[in-house]
Subunit: 227 residues, 2 copies
DNA sequence: GCTAGGCTTTGACCCTGATCAATTCCCGAT
DNA sequence: ATCGGGAATTGATCAGGGTCAAAGCCTAGC
């Protein structure tokens, strides 16, 4: 792909590429591709051999895994600026551990793993950043596992709501869901029905107010108290 | 700590140190300490500032997290040769995300994170190995999350049993549990009672036979069929 | 404006696995 | 050999949340 300036600027804000000089960036771009995905199309499936990783430019990607009987668990939802599948560069078996699907119409850039590894060999800084990114993700997963095992559905949903607003918020806060509720439910390992019921319960308790995809947190301290 | 040959040999087989030359290894050892832990003693608690990572030399360490009301989830059990907490070297907030406790009497070596980062700056190979280790762990966590959310307790227990034996085993296989059943139960996010009941059920079905801490898998294909 | 199809919500019911409680088992210490 | 204490087992009960089914809503497209 050719290197126009807008794109270079965009990449400069991605943690993986932050430390690269223009020469290296250009090299990365040479092996990159722009990928346009219509809504609901699959990018890759779990188990497929992996030789490229991705950056979300526009839209949303969901990473999910399927059980044998077709149940779906959303592992992660990625937004513009996020990268994914870059950790696979270092796995023995270079296969995608999960499947990836576009939620809405989405535009990605894909990068060659082998080429990027070469860059890494030259840039200690980038190595360190990549490791930082990986350990952040690792930490996030550990957190998620404790949430799943130590707490119940209501707890997870409230945590999710509170994560959407600034830490210091005390007063009323507004949240807009840009992702279907059923996807968020799966992300939290809750059935859509249960998700809906919990929202209803929280509303009845006067803690939140739900209007379609907009949720007002009426009583933030009260929500925090639930945890 | 001083560098006797036996220890050097041991470190050479640890993935993090595999690629280091003797000079670097000696340097690592200079900032390392031998730590002896009596059974059940806490090494560190979640949230504590972290500046050292560890290698298990003898015994077993369990990594776990606690909910507010004291419920415990075992995240990982580490055996001799395993390292842990090394990913924290790259986290923004250098704090242990989980707590660590010795199961039996245990001997560890601890290493200075700052010192090891310097080594990493010199050894591309070691960086790559560390990244490989991190992505392996990341992958394992992702797997665990799908197990937790997509499958039930019996499934997880059977998966655990099958993981203990060679891939290609078809005939009868023997497993010895060197860790208390209750710890394994927590590792699988099952209550000890349920753990015991499932073992009983599998025995009744003629798939396994349990004698204290020894489990015989009588019908490996049958177990695989359960998945 | 109206219809169709996909989300979302609501209701009824059920099942897995958690909890509480009581034994029993196992092992090390006396 | 006996005792004591933690681990493991077993039984009874219960609740969170999953499943199935039906109805309600909303929006895109005609």
């Amino acid at each position: 792909m050719e290197a126009d300036q807008a794109l270079l600027d965009e990449l400069h804000h991605v943690y993986l590429f932050e430390e690269l000089d223009d020469e290296q960036l250009t090299r990365v771009l040479r092996n990159s591709q722009r990928v346009s995905l219509p809504a609901k199309s699959l990018l890759f499936e779990a188990g497929q051999p992996a030789d490229r990783f991705y950056l979300v430019h526009q839209g949303q990607i969901k990473l999910f895994s399927l059980s044998i009987d077709g149940d779906e668990k959303v592992m992660e939802i990625l937004y513009p600026g996020n990268t994914f599948a870059e950790a696979i560069m270092f796995m023995q078996a270079k296969r995608y551990p999960v499947s990836a699907q576009a939620l809405g119409d989405t535009v990605l850039y894909s990068f060659d793993m082998k080429g990027f590894r070469q860059i890494l060999e030259e840039s200690q800084q980038t190595c360190f950043r990549l490791m930082a990114g990986m350990s952040r993700r690792l930490h996030a997963r550990i957190n998620e596992i404790s949430n799943l095992t130590l707490h119940n559905a209501t707890y997870r949903l409230v945590v999710f709501l509170l994560e959407q607003i600034p830490e210091d918020a005390i007063e009323l806060a507004e949240i807009h869901l840009s992702t279907p509720k059923s996807v968020i439910a799966s992300r939290l390992s809750i059935q859509p029905e249960t998700f809906s019921r919990i929202l209803t319960r929280l509303s009845a308790a006067g803690l939140i107010e739900v209007k379609g995809n907009d949720i007002s947190l009426l009583d933030v301290p009260g929500l925090r108290d639930l945890l």
